[in-house]
Symmetry: C2
Subunit: 516 residues, 2 copies
């Protein structure tokens, strides 16, 4: 898609042969540890791997049932990708929809997900989210999470159904949930504690985990899971079971390239550096079923002028794509429905970018940025990646876009907004989506756009109770649960924006309900 | 894509909970066996799982180096899918191309594969096929395989580069190779011998296998690998290693639906009943890397009026798609490039079929069927799935196609043939592809067409030496090799016709070269 397919893969895979490979190949390549052969250093009811949305929801739900719960976090910082995401949470049939007069249904939500997912979704799992996301939403409110009143309408959703935290970040969910969890009886969240292996019982189910404490993740290593030996080993019993909530693998350079060789080590991602496949691989080694691993999603709303998710992505998510347009600077024309699903948009953007870095320009007017929280506008303006212009001509001059074409494009789009119908790309332009805003009121705000690796659709197969299924028995692996991005099948080929939080919180909560 | 996504998945995955699930979940869910804990009943240098193209190529190559080689075949019949396939083998830069004046190159072959594979291919692996398929072709000739002189031009290939066995079947390759193998010193092919588990050594590498002899595959079971307990256990040492050549999983009802929920248990497949995921799953359990499992290919050339690959598929592969056309019976019009890659064609056909079984009609004239071996015409005629007609009007009347539209379509296509250019769908119509044949010379031959599940693109990750890579170490798992459909990454999203034999024979041969 982007770079040559001839990459480091051969180098990595062929660099060790002969005796050296045998020796190294042997390290930890052995099969799982049996509980007969270990002495446990600690004993808990429930052990959870990962402290993001899924892990916290599982931890709170399990601890409120009276379980002694330990959450393990390998990083020094709590919350993984959850704490740096945009705090956008799709809740079908929520109270704010009723207030705004938006008609939604479980069926419509499922239909939207299936369309984006190219029909590859495990429908039982989306159906579960449709039914239970409300409960997960209430759980967050109980923990003290605050949402703004206005709904967001994200790409691929037929109607606005997305609530947003008041601070415009997932940290607005993670922080209150961490506080809530820590105050529960028998609950502990341990940082720099890296899950290494499972301990299996006589019945083939999970009885505990081997971890390392005082682990120091190495952001400079491209293969931390393989090479990093820091920390001290500890063996922990999990009497009622383990919940894997360790997230996706967008930053696992080796594993992501095996799944999609068009992704090279240079490909930027919105994810935090610890988003590797280590925990998921251990699940495969005890018989979890790998599902749809090659579907790796690019978020179409990032900016090439900063690293990672940065401070610019939310300008596009919340303002430019909904209230403005994206144009190809070479032609001055729109080239996509700015509210299509992520995969459709990312593919359209890559065609514009081509091989010569011809990044699309996303912009909206001063009405459009009203939807942003103050810092969502100030931060990218201050960093210089978002520019302010007094006229369309100024935008054209700055980005070297043919000015006449660009003005024609804006006029044409404004006509579509007036008519409530986009004849060119079918973007939804009804009042609930665009609030009637066209692109006409100066100042204008513009940013270069690019897709970045954002979410790995694939992962471990689970059922609607968040139990991990065994490929050997086709039944649940006793006492093993998983939730969130580490699982696969929910989103199929492509996830809709704001369904990640719904997925993580809902299945985390369900894992907590069913464990023990 | 075809059926409802609400299927048996929930039933299967939720049918056992509580104590029952625990008990059953425990059966064989334990991790791999250590060589310290077993007594070997037999000792071989090399053990190969599977007796199709890949297994035979590996077996012959390994045995010719002086190794004692045992090939295990779980079925009563030798050769898996290889023996029922069409015997079409893509060999870039072969001698017959030179004779026919066809210009080919490694680069063109790789480009064709990458286009069909949507860029997901592991290019190092296709490159290896481009370079070594010639050697695999020579190996088959050494074993006594005979090919017809005329090249085939299959969908998605830029040029004719496919050789075909004289009997128009993969059996024309399998049978001579089996004879050749059996005559080698220290070589044995054992039927009804089912591979169950690996035995691992101290270094984490493979030291042997646990099998069952006198195993009786149960075609009536939808989950033979899980439920079938027939046969007697035997533990076999493989001093120099094991080659997995057990094929794909098109007939594994549970596993294929997990990967692609649009595939239900009713979905027909061209594969033999034993094409399940059992051996591949064992590889995952000792740390093999799952690659691109959700890409499952439909062969677009099957017939809905018979089961499986049947006797009709080769009429479409060799005659109707190359020398004739495929039309939508509702409109009488063509709807695709009949020589596009398989995924493109299958998707176009599913759009025609829709939900009401409106199967496309594939037909050609009496020149078109000249490319068929006698039995490729007689068998489908005798079974009644292929019909013979004296005029286009008769075809229209029989299949209830608007006659005027159909005649217009044929005229238009014949004009394209004359001009050497298909203005509607870009089918290659140069002389080397169509021999100048249009659709005009009675009698005409027609058949209803449908895609059927044919090949699983995904599987185990290997390097160019056919070594299986470990997800734990990112290095080769000592003494474990794999080749053919059980591997993943070669074909990316969609395999071109006749590249399966190239893949299986080439990597089988390479596994045999590198083992021991």
């Amino acid at each position: 898609m982007k770079n040559s397919n001839f990459s480091r893969r051969d180098f990595v895979k062929l660099s060790m042969v002969g005796a050296g490979a045998l020796a190294l190949g042997g390290v930890n390549a052995q099969a799982a540890v049996s509980s007969k052969d270990v002495k446990f250093d600690e004993e808990w009811d429930v052990v959870i791997v990962g402290s993001g949305f899924a892990g916290l929801a599982a931890g709170i739900t399990a601890a409120e049932k009276g379980n002694k719960v330990l959450i393990l976090e390998k990083m020094g910082r709590i919350g993984g990708n959850s704490v740096i995401n945009g705090g956008l949470f799709a809740v079908p049939n929520n109270d704010k929809q009723k207030a705004e007069g938006v008609k939604d249904s479980n069926e419509l939500f499922i239909k939207d997900c299936l369309k984006a997912g190219r029909g590859l979704n495990h429908v039982d799992l989306i159906d579960t989210i449709a039914t239970r996301a409300q409960d997960a939403y209430k759980l967050t409110i109980k923990c003290g999470v605050k949402y703004i009143d206005k709904l967001s309408h994200l790409g691929g959703h037929s109607v606005p159904r997305t609530v947003q935290t008041t601070n415009g970040s997932g940290s607005g969910i993670v922080q209150p949930m961490v506080e809530y969890f820590k105050n529960l009886q028998g609950a502990e969240l341990r940082q720099r504690a890296k899950f290494d292996e499972f301990v299996l019982g006589e019945d083939g189910g999970v009885e505990g985990v081997i971890i390392r404490e005082n682990y120091k993740f190495d952001s400079n290593s491209l293969k931390d899971d393989v090479e990093n030996t820091s920390g001290e080993k500890k063996t922990i019993k999990a009497k009622k079971g383990v919940v894997l909530a360790a997230g996706g693998f967008c930053r696992d350079v080796f594993f992501r390239e095996v799944q999609d060789p068009s992704i090279t080590k240079e490909t930027d991602s919105t994810n935090h550096p610890g988003a590797t496949a280590g925990a998921m691989k251990e699940a495969f080694r005890i018989g979890a079923i790998p599902v749809q691993l090659s579907w790796i999603q690019f978020g179409p709303w990032a900016c090439p002028d900063e690293k990672g998710f940065g401070v610019g992505s939310l300008f596009n998510v919340n303002a430019s794509f909904r209230y403005g347009i994206s144009v190809n600077p070479k032609t001055g024309k729109r080239y996509m429905n700015e509210l299509a699903d992520r995969r459709t948009r990312a593919q359209a953007m890559f065609r514009v970018i081509g091989t010569d870095g011809n990044y699309p320009i996303n912009f909206c007017d001063s009405n459009g940025v009203k939807a942003l929280l103050p810092e969502q506008l100030e931060k990218p303006l201050n960093s210089g990646i978002l520019k302010k212009f007094d006229s369309i001509d100024e935008i054209a001059a700055f980005y070297k876009i043919p000015a006449d074409e660009l003005k024609k494009t804006v006029e044409r789009y404004n006509g579509f907004v007036k008519a409530g119908k986009d004849d060119d790309f079918g973007k939804p332009l009804d009042k609930t989506t665009t609030d009637g805003y066209d692109v006409s009121k100066p100042p204008f705000y513009a940013m270069r756009g690019t897709p970045k690796l954002h979410h790995t659709m694939g992962g471990i197969d689970i059922n609607t109770k968040a139990q991990v299924i065994s490929l050997k028995t086709e039944m649940p692996i006793p006492r093993l649960f998983a939730a969130g991005e580490i699982t696969g099948g929910v989103h199929g080929a492509s996830r809709l924006g704001s369904v990640a939080i719904a997925d993580c919180l809902t299945f985390g909560m369900i894992a907590g309900e069913n464990i023990g």
